[in-house]
Amino acid sequence: MRQGVATGIFAPCYPRRVGPAADDIAEYFDSYGWGYVRAEPTVYRTAFTGETGRYDVWLKVTDTWVFFCINPFVRKPTGEPHGVGTLQAVLRANHEVNLAKFAVDDEGDLLLSVELPAEGFCYTHFCDALTALSHYADGYRPRIDAAIAADQAEVV
């Protein structure tokens, strides 16, 4: 098999299509029926309350990407980074979820995000992203809380 050569993530796209303007996102929110605050010209904040709690969602539009993020999703335990059980739970969850991913941020907190290319981004993708975030936030919170509790018990 002839092998390709990695070209980096910003290879040109032909024909070049413009991604969503930040203003389009406001229309998407209106169509979706969720309230929002436009925190900056390219940054929106919304929220939802699920069975496991209330979550703030940040949405940022750049020339290249559209980011949806719940951060923090779960804060790290006081004074301790997340342990082996929690990290395993999060990384195994990444094998099960579609579109979304769990990660650890620079502060050691857990986040849940969806990233999509700005090019070709449409209302369907907006719906997919918000649906994935709300579904997985609620669906995986009990498992992750249990893993954190187990890690804490081992520390004690």
């Binding site: 390709g4 990695a6 990290l87 094998h95 620079d106």
Partner: protein, 145 residues
């Protein structure tokens, strides 16, 4: 055209084959909906699978890192989890065998060549960039440092 109609066209396996040819990478078609390709980065060579499903197009390198007998240690797990924050478009995780993988998943609806390029580019870039620190983390775990 409504917003829903604009994004209602799903990509097909035949389109993925055309995208591969246009991108200039060779491929093997393993099954009707699954393709295999490969690439060589600065640090390693990788085999990648591309699978077209009803709702998603998934690009995967698996294993990115084979699990040791007793599973990954804290340093490797933390490196994988932290890498997810910085790897735009790509996702790292652990599969059912305990191996580490990296993938890119995009909606099949509205999937175009530019998405194919972004997905393969992200997969190749982050697989090659992250494999070295992950191997270093694995050594830290093995030596109990």
């Amino acid at each position: 055209m409504s917003q829903e109609e604009a994004g209602s066209v799903r990509t097909s396996a035949a389109e993925i084959a055309r995208f591969f040819r246009r991108y200039g990478w060779s491929f093997e078609r393993l099954e009707n909906d699954t393709f295999r390709t490969g690439f060589r980065g600065k640090n390693a060579a990788f085999v990648a699978l591309v699978r077209v499903m009803k709702h998603w197009v998934v690009f995967t390198v698996n294993p990115l890192l084979k699990a040791p007998e007793h599973g990954f240690g804290l340093a490797t797990l933390r490196a994988l989890a932290v890498a997810n924050q910085h790897a735009n478009l790509a996702k790292l995780g652990i599969d059912d065998d305990g191996d580490a993988f990296i993938n890119v998943e995009l909606p099949a609806e509205g999937f175009e060549f530019c998405h194919f390029v972004a997905a393969l580019g992200a997969l190749a870039h982050f697989a090659d960039t992250l494999v070295v620190p992950l191997l270093q983390a694995q050594i830290v775990d093995e030596r109990g440092l």
